[in-house]
Amino acid sequence: MSLTLNVNGKSHTVDVDPSTPLLYILRNDLGLRGPRFGCGLGQCGACTVIIRGVATRSCIIPGSAVKGEITTLEGLAKGGKLHPLQQAWIDEQVPQCGFCQNGQIMNAKALLDKNPNPTDAQIREGMQGALCRCMTYYRVQAAIKQAVKRIAADRMAAGSGVVA
């Protein structure tokens, strides 16, 4: 059965069983590497994509159940410029092995899109479902705080541009 998905601004039609979890379609049919298999149970967050603003576990949602635009890690950079979260991740040198970092970054993106200035407690709460076996939590939280500042500065710059 053919299924049409809108991923990172492009439309793709794939021929798969409609019950196929989105993760396998993204990885094996579209060749994306950002979302990864960690548990297949929606527990760890490695497979996270953002669907209409919501951090979604692509390992447990059937492709046919997806309604709306899907953003993956590959879709965060705009015009060749990394998303402020990605830049903060590099500046803070967050990853150890890096395997889970798709989940960390995509969950942080959904968190900051909803709440651009979270408290420490809100960061812990909002990131709770993103596990990291290398235990980079402390660095991830520092990078989120740095990204908050970057995003605010970018907005300020964009805002002053409008005023000017």
């Binding site: 298999f37 950079a77 967050v94 596990l131």
Partner: protein, 794 residues
């Protein structure tokens, strides 16, 4: 004769292409191709291989890169950039960046003009892959010496080219100039770019590989001590890195295993008709008790594995005690082996004369590696060869194992190492490589296999469970005069290195060694001067020895965290019994000794304890602190240990919720002395994460099982640290306690694993300080802590 070439692996090509100014593969091949005649028969250097790249990639055979050839380690390109080929893999600590730092320093090229290729058996020398935090301590030495030798050779070539004696030459960033006349210059690229050195190295083995040149004094290493950002991080945050899980080959199919539902069960039969209707179904593959399904697509293989009707026969005897009964079992079992006791002084007499004797039992359960994604590999059987794409940290061991397991000559097998989820030693005993290769051979197409979460958590290798009995004697003045350490480890079938007769698929197929590889129960790693002591260790076996999900493997210092939990918790108990400050008590035991070793471990032990205490602001007083009346009780604990020559002291500050038993490690401090520091930022992050990994082991992790099977099968039933557990503050102090801290031959020692050892005890000691309650059983989950608080009426 023709040198047969394998082709540059895609990830290597990408890496080369990503370096600004480095020749593309095409250019590399062209430049090398000019010299193809002179390469013929030389064998394994990457350049020589590149010369033959016109042949189909993957053709084989895959001869071993010769570590006695300088060309196997370093290639200088025409633009004077350099590529380093090292036989190591990076488990997530950024070691490739550090190798580039130390090799570019010895070679005298700019750091950002270098790349590092790691761990693929056909193009990098066999340094064994990774393990034991030995990347810098052991393996950076031959790299360093090779780079120094390359510099020497280049300077001599420059001397001829510039017609000036070597003593009159200066080198900077790959450019050789005549001192006092900088217009006379020649670049490395002009001298040798794209061509071979053809220089032999000496040395009885790879660790001893050396040229004629001496390495530089530490003070002349310019990149060492700086913190260039890790080159592997940008492609990890933008989604562009190709990981081992991402390998896709033409004609590739997907496999999933089906594990026995009860450990030790016999595969009596299966009904293939139950899965023939699954779309894309290709085959059920089975031998002995090994069982797998192969389908065209990944989700189809998952579905078929779940749907296949299988008839398993339970074993006659229960394979395990239950996890609730584990420590009674370990204490009562007849050991499979016992060490000869290490005896100092006369412990028996000392205990008899002690003013106070205390005893305590400490228990650490099996803990899982629980890599973030299940074991995985893709095997390509094209051209009668076998290429395995794998994140195996010991790719060279996997190559041997796969070749022996399949009965293929080693030259027909190669392992291409690619990044994967950190497994803390799990991939030293990776199971997927042999499985993928076996299935690929059976199917005749490239096969990708990946273990599911429940399979990985239940069936990965386990860190051995320990039951330790401690006994200590104090004299009337509160001095520790006698100590007895007696440890039992459930570590009988300890696997690793992808041996063809111990990898799980081999065990399931009925292959048996005469005797399993026994692990061991470690003795404590400290420099305390205790006049009378005895240390004894034993290994015990679970009832089921083979084909067991409780087979053990190296989890990040295979037994240090367990033995240190016992020994450093007990030192705190003794300090409390002597009404002494825990830091003061340890300091007295360290300063009472005079013996020292070549790495100055005693001096450095004292230094890290001081540094940690200072960074934390340690208040000298006995534990426990007088309890407050609030819901949250706060306390601090310390512990110290060493691994190899690396010495660490750690302090944990905890908040214990007396109503729920929940423990939060609010603050962590580590003073860490690993000798020469290559990349301080990388080191700090590695230490941070190593501490948190052990914090996870302290607070959460335990493999549970009933008498038939492991019941810890996912992140709920084998919980791990989460964002909520992250400390508010972590301080990592990089100490240098060497008596001659500026020595020109200061050596680098291992980093990560040493930092894993003290944390379990530091947390338990902090809980005692906060509450006055001593808990001697890991993990310190809320229900256990609450029960202990309630029992003590806290």
């Amino acid at each position: 004769m023709t040198t047969v070439f394998t082709g540059i692996p895609k990830h290597v090509e990408d890496m080369l292409a990503s370096l600004g100014g480095t020749p593309s593969r095409r250019n590399l091949l062209n430049s090398a191709g000019l010299l193809v005649v002179s390469f013929a028969g030389v064998g394994a250097s990457p350049v020589a291989r590149a010369a033959d790249a016109a042949e189909p990639a993957g053709a084989g055979p895959y001869t071993d890169p010769d570590f006695h050839q300088l060309d196997s380690w370093i290639v200088i390109h025409e633009d004077s950039s350099a590529t380093f080929y090292v036989g190591k893999t990076d488990c997530g600590q950024g070691t490739g960046t550090s190798f580039r730092q130390i090799m570019s320093d010895e070679l005298d090229v700019a750091y950002d003009r270098t790349t590092c290729i790691m761990g693929s058996t056909d193009i990098t020398v066999d340094q064994g892959g990774s393990g034991g935090s030995t990347a810098m301590e052991r393996d950076s030495w031959p790299m360093r010496r090779a780079a120094a030798e390359a510099r020497r050779v280049l300077v001599e070539m420059g001397s001829v080219r510039l017609d000036a004696p070597v003593s009159q030459l200066a080198v900077s960033a790959g450019v050789i100039t005549v001192k006092g006349d900088p217009s006379r210059k020649v670049t490395y690229g002009e001298l040798i770019g794209g061509r071979r050195f053809n220089v032999a190295l000496s040395g009885a083995n790879i660790n001893a590989a050396t040229g004629v040149a001496a390495v530089k004094p530490v003070q002349e290493l310019k990149n060492v001590g700086l913190s260039p950002q890790r080159y592997d991080i940008p492609p990890k945050v933008d989604g562009s890195l190709e990981w081992a899980v991402d390998v896709r080959l033409p004609g590739m199919v997907h496999a999933r295993n089906i594990k026995p539902p009860v450990a030790g069960a016999r595969l009596a039969g299966f009904d293939e008709s139950s899965v023939r209707g699954v779309p894309g179904f290709l085959k059920v593959v089975s031998k002995g008790n090994y069982l797998a399904v192969v389908c065209e697509r990944e989700e189809q293989a998952i579905q078929a594995a779940a749907r296949l009707k299988v008839n398993w026969e339970k074993p006659a005897k229960a394979p395990f005690p239950t996890s609730e009964n584990l420590f009674n079992y370990i204490r009562e079992a007849t050991p499979t082996s016992s060490s000869r006791p290490i005896v100092v002084g006369n412990p028996e007499v000392a205990f008899a004369g002690a003013a106070k004797v205390i005893e305590a039992d400490y228990d650490v359960p099996f803990q899982g590696h629980t890599a973030f994604s299940g074991a995985h590999a893709t095997a390509d059987p094209s051209n009668g060869q076998m290429t395995v794409y794998s994140n195996d940290m010991k790719s060279y061991g996997m190559r041997r194992g796969v070749a022996e397991f399949l009965g293929m000559p080693r030259e027909k097998v190669r392992v291409v190492w690619m990044e994967g989820p950190q497994g803390f030693g799990r991939t030293a005993a990776d199971d997927a490589g042999c499985e993928a290769a076996y299935l690929a051979k059976e199917i005749g197409r490239p096969v990708r296999i990946q273990w599911m979460r429940s399979e990985e958590t239940a069936w990965d290798t386990k860190s051995p469970a320990f039951a330790v009995r401690m006994k200590g004697g104090l004299d009337g003045a509160g001095n520790l005069i006698a100590l007895d350490y007696n440890a039992r480890a459930a570590d009988y079938n300890h696997v690793g290195y992808n041996e063809a007769d111990t990898v799980l698929i081999a065990q399931l197929m009925g292959i048996r060694r005469a005797k399993p590889a026994e692990g061991s129960a470690a003795t404590p790693s400290e420099m305390y001067a205790i006049p009378h002591r005895q240390m004894t260790t034993h290994v015990v076996s679970m009832p089921l020895v083979w084909e067991t999900p409780l087979r053990t493997g190296n989890l990040r210092d295979p037994n240090g965290p367990q033995s240190t939990f016992a020994s450093e918790s007990f030192i705190d108990e003794l300090a409390a019994a002597a009404k002494a400050d825990p830091l003061e008590f340890r300091m007295q035991l360290l300063t009472a000794g005079t013996s020292e070793d070549g790495g100055f471990r005693r001096a450095r032990s004292i230094a890290v304890l001081k540094a940690a205490a200072e960074a934390y602001g340690w208040e000298r007083r006995p534990s426990p602190i007088s309890r407050g009346t609030g819901e949250l009780l706060t306390g601090r604990g310390m512990a110290y240990s060493f691994r190899g020559q690396t010495v660490v002291a750690e302090i944990a500050e905890v908040e214990v919720n007396r109503r729920t038993g929940h423990v939060w490690a609010k603050r962590l401090v580590c003073a860490h002395d690993c000798g020469l520091v290559i990349n301080p930022q990388s080191l700090r992050h590695t230490v941070e994460c190593a501490m948190l990994h052990s914090l996870s082991r302290a607070l959460h992790e335990e493999v549970q099982f009933d008498s038939e099977k492991v019941t810890s099968v996912d992140w709920y039933s084998h919980p791990t640290l989460t964002h909520a557990d992250a400390p508010e503050k972590i301080d990592v102090v990089l100490a240098n306690g060497d008596p001659h801290p500026d020595r020109s031959d200061l050596a680098p020692y291992g980093a990560g694993e040493a930092a894993c050892k003290p944390m379990l005890a530091a947390v338990a000691n902090a809980i005692f300080d906060a509450t006055g309650v001593r808990i001697r059983r890991i993990p310190l989950r809320a229900p256990r802590v609450l029960a202990a608080l309630n029992a003590a009426k806290v």
